[in-house]
Symmetry: C2
């Protein structure tokens, strides 16, 4: 007997439909309906009717084998044979995260195909892979941020079993796995939640659709929906943690913020399972509250992405000043990010036309994730250019060194490590023609102020846009790409082998005019010349410097100076 | 020379108009426009034109002698002769607050007329009077929550000078003065702010109109507008503190919440002027963050109204279960409020259809304001009934004892102390007929579920509705009213004379079935019989009880019991 449950607080009648047979559910407390039935077992497809409307997929459908508009399929999670009982994820302090989009990571675009590359990732020195959202989204291809069946791994990626096999294989290889989850909105296509209850609110707006009702009437069960979703990935799919998308679009004025409740319930699950999980938020707020401890009035989320560090590094290296980069570009911005985490910590932002952020206090640099690219920073460009398309190899090497040796948790985006030539374009696969057009128009409109851009933007709906974005693994054998990969590998080894690089201590000196930066992390010194001329960078006397790694063969250390050619970086070990 | 300034960040041209003469302003930084002119002095009337639209009153008009649609009048605050240099307000711990609506407090309805009653209030034992909003609102009569010229004291109350005279007179009498300010919305009528800048946002909604733009583009100067308003009342009008209306409708997701910034800037003004100010918020969130210290992630507001205590006491005494009272009614609710502050501290609220609030931690009971009535709790009823209309005198005495001897800061609403027979109805005075009708329809709609109510609701626009709400001071000579007044006076004396009643310590015992409650506050014991039969309430043995005050002549203390008749309260001093 399986107990089938669904929440429909305003319904008068809820019916379970299995292959043309109908079973009435009865009303329990707080809007829940349920029935115990022997008609459901692992693999049964079913749907619901609410007040004679339907059939609708189960809001908590564990699987949508025919996509967002099809029936749900029931899964008995207990049947999977896990072999990772001894697995324990490494501490987040020592993590190197690799962000991965299942559809474009491999030619096959499936969970199973990811497994083939785990040795490669392990060998590179990756500790955590982070999957872009896998919850069922409309069509065959997409970034995943418009998912609508949040409990169902995407059928075209291979569905529930294939995902469990992937996580299990990662753990067997000694890799942790994080999952990107979207709790700020749902996609428009295949979104049947409003047929069941007041999941959405008109009180707040998000840029992507109706805001989720986290604090209005009936919100307890809506919060439960998302929190149970998080707990499911951690408990039933053995994920090691979650990356929570765009938390600034979660508006919740109740006394216990949704994210605080989420963190508390994940902590409780940790205690119950005797495991450690990690929660990482993407936030546009520069608000320390997110990652401060609950005792200090925070939400207790473990870490957040550090966008300011990205923007400072990207703008300095590319010289770009468009959109949010207008707030960055000085070496001082990068230095501030490395020393203090946020650049915008209460100062005026020209891009935002207001003061932004707050100084970090009572948080650790290991609570920030640092990167030179991620899916958004690439894909939100008109042509999906990676920094590899924008910068010469020497600058890529500087970027990699600063990301990987920074006090933050480094994150790489798939292919970054060999400067893959594939772009990462925005792609989707909507059935509805109107929606297809709307997405394309929205995309064009985003770039309307850039001459010769908006009419050349690849159509998100075109299969070609998706195919172009697939990683070109064959490039790995080419000398230029292999060289960059080797650089990444050696930087990651450095971080792994030198405990000082996993400490928070970071002393920054820089010269805005001469464009050099010096970062001392315990006994490790990184010096970087961003300028176009060779120069001598002052350094501490009465100690010795042993060169560990450099992007140039002409680094010289003499008296109180390190001589370094243009656009180069060198890493030393300080000894007495 | 006076420097005239106005913020209009998107304007191309701003002109100052004085009696048909026009002076161009020039653009400064961050959207500010200014001009130095000798044409303006104390008393000059003026207005602004923005991009040839106008005339508009100054958004920061210090005075609107002809109402919300008329010109502004410039005021030199330095000219007023204050005589309160030695004034220092008493600590909030020992405060008894008296909420007062200038228009209905006296027959005249002016600031000046309030002065005549200050001796009465002082004699009653009041320490702080709290004025309902006085900022210029449309028409001649109104509660004041639809004010639109937030820097201008209402002309019909007497304007800036009369208000300063009132505050000065209070200080001379030894009374502190608080002002109710509305920072969550502005009224619809006479609201010209949008002609100057993006003061409002479409991202959030409030029940009363467009939400204020506290966190979007250009919000720095909008936050300044409200904070400068607060600082003006404290600095230029010598108010001792502010009551901040409905802070739950202030939606601000930025890293430093508007209220935290407000509290910090008020603290800075305290330091500068070597004075103490108090900030009290009205909040529907039951969120301790509001009143926690900034170090613990709070906003640093000094205190907030405790609605739960009101609802628990009101519902218990009246038996009412309509609207939000559905969540209250048990003696246990009142006991919990007295012991812990909030009743809804994370538990499920039937009224709200969700869990509500959070447990108070690291805050003091003196950070909560307790009352059995206030303008809202009365005026939001269909017929503006006070508890004096709903309850017999014995119950009023119980309510008064529990409010005044509670661990909270007691607040009385004008006339409560003698059980005035005047209702406090909802009244307004809009010029626009459509708005008049809309308010009336809104009012009727609010009570549409109550039979025989909605068609009898007094028209808010009718002068009679306002006049009915005026205090009937002549009742003070009537025996019943005089007796209740004496009861209030003696309770207030008790609180003043017994330091234990100004401590936080509160031990509560109660019996839900027998309907008795015992509240021990240091050496003071209050026992209360809410039941309809006399009963003996158990009390600690091995100590002695000296009766200080009771609502009945038949209180007996014997062995381990205090015998008390039905619906009565008694207060004892415990001695050894």
């Amino acid at each position: 007997m399986v107990k089938m449950k669904v929440w429909a607080p305003k319904a008068q009648k809820v019916v379970l439909s299995i292959d043309g047979r109908f079973i009435n559910l009865s009303e329990d407390n707080h809007g829940w309906w349920s029935v115990e039935t022997s008609e459901i077992c692992h693999g049964t497809t079913y749907s619901f009717f609410v007040d004679d409307q339907g059939p609708f997929p189960d809001p908590r459908s564990p699987y949508q084998p025919k996509g967002v508009h099809g029936p749900s399929q029931w899964i008995n999670h207990a049947l999977f044979k896990w072999t990772d009982a001894d697995w324990a994820q490494p501490s987040i302090d020592s993590a190197i995260i690799y962000e991965l989009h299942v559809g474009t990571f491999s030619p096959e675009g499936t969970f199973a195909a990811v497994i083939k590359r785990l040795d490669y990732l392990k060998d590179l020195g990756i500790t955590h892979i982070e999957l872009m959202p896998v919850a069922e989204f409309p069509g065959k291809r997409g970034w995943g941020y418009d998912g609508v069946d949040l409990f169902a791994p995407h059928h075209d990626y291979g569905g529930p079993d294939a995902l469990k096999h992937l996580v299990n294989a990662c753990h067997e290889k000694g890799l942790a796995v994080l999952l990107d989850v979207v709790y700020n909105h749902l996609g428009p296509d295949g979104n049947y939640l409003s047929c069941f209850g007041p999941y959405f609110t008109q009180h707040y707006k998000t840029p992507w659709g109706d805001a989720i009702n986290f604090d209005g009437a009936y919100s307890d069960e809506i919060r439960r929906f998302f929190i149970d979703n998080a707990l499911m990935w951690l408990r039933d799919y053995h994920f090691d943690g979650l990356r929570i998308d765009a938390v600034h679009a979660i508006v919740d004025t109740s006394a216990i913020h949704f994210l605080e409740q989420l963190a508390a319930e994940v902590n409780a699950l940790e205690a119950k399972l005797n495991k450690k999980f990690v929660l990482i938020a993407e936030s546009d707020l520069n608000d320390p509250r997110l990652i401060r401890s609950v005792d200090l009035g925070g939400y207790g989320i473990n870490a957040q992405w550090n966008e300011d560090f990205h923007h400072a590094l990207h703008s300095l290296l590319t010289g770009e000043q468009q959109r949010y980069y207008v707030d960055f570009g000085k070496l001082g911005d990068l230095a501030k990010a490395l020393a203090q985490g946020f650049v915008y910590d209460g100062c005026y932002s020209r891009y935002r036309h207001r003061m932004h952020g707050r100084r970090l206090k009572n948080v650790s640099a290991h609570q920030l994730v640092g990167f030179i690219q991620n899916h958004d920073q690439i894909g939100n460009r008109a042509f999906g250019e990676r920094v590899g398309h924008l910068l010469p190899q020497e600058k890529l090497k500087i970027a990699a060194a600063l990301v990987i040796l920074s006090p933050f948790i480094p994150l790489l985006f798939q292919g970054e490590e060999w400067g893959v030539s594939s772009p990462f374009l925005y792609f989707c696969d909507h059935v509805d023609k109107k929606l297809q057009d709307a997405v394309y128009e929205g995309r064009k409109n985003e770039f309307k102020d850039f001459a010769n851009v908006s009419d050349k933007i690849p159509h998100p709906q075109a299969e070609e846009t998706f195919l172009q974005s697939k990683l070109k693994w064959e490039e790995l054998t080419e000398q230029k790409h292999a060289e960059l990969l080797e650089w990444y590998r050696r930087l990651i080894s450095l971080r792994r082998d030198h405990p000082d690089l996993r400490q928070e201590s970071t002393e920054i000196d820089f010269n805005e005019e001469k464009l050099w930066l010096r970062m001392k992390r315990g006994s490790i010194l990184l010096v970087c010349n961003f300028g176009e001329k060779a120069q001598s960078i002052p350094c501490q006397s009465a100690v010795k410097y042993r060169l560990l790694l450099s992007s140039s063969n002409t680094i010289r250390y003499q008296d109180n100076f390190i001589s370094i050619p243009s656009t180069a970086v060198a890493i030393f070990k300080i000894t007495i």
